[in-house]
């Protein structure tokens, strides 16, 4: 049998360990380098140990306004997370039966995952540019004072930016729902219905507790993918940049370990979110069992 602990087994273990080292090693080095002393550079050897570069980051120092970019990213991430959960769970429920347009919607979902991000970003940017032109035209044609004086652009983090990110997070949410419902035992639901529960009550009391752990998974995808999203939002964030966009800019300008400190902080945020999600997932699973 395959699972015998023969030579191939050990080769595979070794290979897997190498892969994990490859995955995590580089990130570990920048965490290490971010704790250097004030004389530290971008490469090894380590010059002393301190939290100097974190303080530098906190002060804002040479770097752009990281604090507000960070805040913007978190807020947007939470909004994307909530919307991803709500929309993909409801769509997932709808998809359990065929409905008008379900094939098209499924096609769009898969297509959205594989359409090049820059193409989508361009499309959304064009759409909002036309929307701007249209709004300005409305303003001048009908002499709407408010538009003429104050209107600048419809492009923004919570309009175009949010939408562009949702086209990336929603497909993951829906696909997770598909995976859940493909393995879902319908007899519980039928039992509830036979006992006279309304569809809403059946959902609340039976279906929801069963899919709750997976909803944590969807939330995790929603937040982390938004928090790190770059390609799709690159053209549509308007005036305020999110953290990944600032970071991308910094890669070409910053030459101090401050960028590693920032990397350590964002990675820490991501890991915390992942950790919390995993704990919640296990907790919900246990509670159910």
């Amino acid at each position: 049998m395959l699972n015998k602990k023969n030579k191939t087994y050990y080769i595979c273990v070794f290979f897997f360990c190498l892969f994990v080292l490859f995955l995590y090693g580089p990130t570990f080095t920048i965490v290490l380098l971010s704790f250097q002393g004030p004389d530290g550079g971008l490469t090894f050897p380590l010059n002393g140990v301190s939290t100097y570069w974190f303080e530098e980051l906190w002060r804002g120092g040479s770097v752009v306004d990281i604090g507000s970019a960070f805040k913007r990213s978190i807020i947007l991430g939470v909004i994307v997370m909530v919307l991803t959960v709500l929309l993909s769970v409801s769509a997932g429920l709808a998809f359990r039966k065929k409905f008008w347009g379900s094939d098209t919607l499924f096609f769009a979902t898969v297509a959205s995952l594989i359409v090049p991000s820059i193409v989508l970003s361009l499309g959304v940017a064009l759409q909002f540019r036309l929307l701007d032109d249209f709004t300005k035209w409305l303003g001048s044609t009908f002499d709407i004072n408010y538009i003429n004086e104050f209107f600048q652009t419809t492009l923004g983090m919570f309009t175009s930016g949010l939408g562009a990110q949702l086209t990336w997070t929603l497909p993951f949410g829906l696909l997770i729902m598909f995976a859940v419902f493909n393995r879902f035992d319908k007899s519980y639901e039928e039992a509830a219905r036979d006992l006279g529960a309304t569809p809403w009550k059946t959902f609340k009391e039976v279906v929801f507790p069963l899919i709750a752990p997976s909803i944590i998974g969807i939330a995790l995808f929603g937040f982390t993918l938004s928090y790190d999203e770059l390609a799709r939002s690159s053209q549509v964030m308007g005036a305020g940049n999110t953290l990944p966009l600032e970071l991308k800019g910094l890669t070409t300008t910053v030459t101090t370990p401050v960028i590693y400190a920032l990397g350590t902080v964002t990675t820490f945020v991501s890991f915390s979110v992942i950790g919390i999600s995993i704990v919640c997932y296990i907790w919900l699973k246990r509670k159910r069992g």
Binding site: M1, L2, N3, C12, F16, F19, F22, L23, Y24, P26, T27, G41, L42, T43, F44, L87, S90, A91, L93, A94, R96, W100, S102, L105, A108, T109, V110, I114, V115, P116, I118, V119, L120, L122, G123, V124, A125, L126, Q127, L130, G163, L166, L170, N182, T198, W200, F221, A231, P244, L247, K248, T251, Y260, G263, T266, T267, S270, F271, I274, I278
Partner: protein, 294 residues
């Protein structure tokens, strides 16, 4: 609310909010991109029109065979090469990682833990994961230190960073997961008794791998390949950062044209990129039915 739901609700209606997002942020933008690729433009604005200049400009010089290969074809060729190399390495590595997880890890708990270990980086920042190669591959990086101190090289190797090598390395680093997940998924569906049957009939490990496991994993391999190839085809960020902004790509052409507000030109490039991507996917999906694989 309760009463409304009692009236045999049409569950399909629940998909409306989801659909609206896709109509407004997917269908309309892509349609507009197609339309605007035929528009005219000047420095300040885009002008409704129906011209083919944007496309003609992309392939200007490309049909002149006496000159060298045109910039457009060169860029496409370079992007295809990145696609192919990245595809090759992610497939090999992804397949064996999935193989290990599916067939050598016996306890379900360990399977989940190790699988998560592979997945967690996907939920962290791509930019950070890219710049984390700098201390390793840079001029004074760890790899060069090692090469110099062991005498394997007598000068710092410049090709390690901001080169085609570092781009492929970053792609493999970022996107091998796209191969692992679908291939692992396919492998987990393989009925273990089939493998036992092959074993009982005298097949060795290699034969089982080649004649049983790989054919049954084909859907996973195809899905993973689609992900990897499309993500590399449209990339401009990884190639930008890891190539030191020196190496061209299709995505970068679009990006640069957008920054100069040559939107219809960017749209024309986007249409071609999208068409090529769809063509590749179409060829690959001829082999499987994705929906059955979830």
């Amino acid at each position: 609310m309760m009463k409304f739901l009692k009236l045999k609700p049409n569950v399909g209606l629940l998909s409306i909010p989801y659909s609206l997002i896709f109509i407004f942020f997917f269908f309309i933008p892509l349609t507009l991109t197609f339309i605007i690729s035929f528009w005219d433009y000047n420095e300040y604005s885009i002008i409704p029109d129906f011209i083919f200049e944007n496309y003609a400009y992309i392939f200007k010089d490309c049909l002149n065979f006496e000159k060298d290969i045109c910039v457009t074809f060169k860029t496409y060729l370079s992007t295809f090469i990145f696609c192919f190399i990245t595809w090759f390495f992610t497939l090999i590595i992804g397949f064996f990682v999935a193989y290990f997880l599916a067939f050598y890890v016996n306890s379900i708990t360990w399977q989940i833990v190790l699988f998560l270990l592979c997945t967690i980086p996907f939920w962290t920042s791509n930019v950070i994961r890219m710049i984390s190669w700098i201390p390793l591959l840079g001029r004074n990086g760890l790899v060069n230190d090692f090469l110099l101190s062991t005498g394997l090289a007598d000068a710092p190797q410049e090709w390690l960073l901001y080169s085609g090598f570092s781009i492929v390395l970053a792609f493999v680093h970022l996107y091998t997961l796209f191969m692992i997940v679908p291939i692992f998924n396919s492998m987990m569906r393989i009925d273990k008794s089939i493998i036992e049957a092959a074993y009982d009939n005298g097949a060795n490990g290699l034969q089982i791998l080649w004649n049983v496991i790989i054919p049954l994993c084909k859907p996973g391999i195809v899905i993973g390949s689609i992900f990897v190839i499309t993500v590399v085809m449209g990339d401009f960020i990884t190639i930008g950062i890891m190539g030191g902004q020196q190496i061209p790509s299709i995505g970068k052409i679009i990006y640069v044209e957008m920054s100069y507000l040559q939107l219809p030109a960017a749209a024309a490039n986007a249409v071609i990129l999208l068409a090529l991507t769809l063509l590749i996917i179409w060829i690959m999906t001829k082999m499987i039915d994705i929906r059955k694989e979830l």
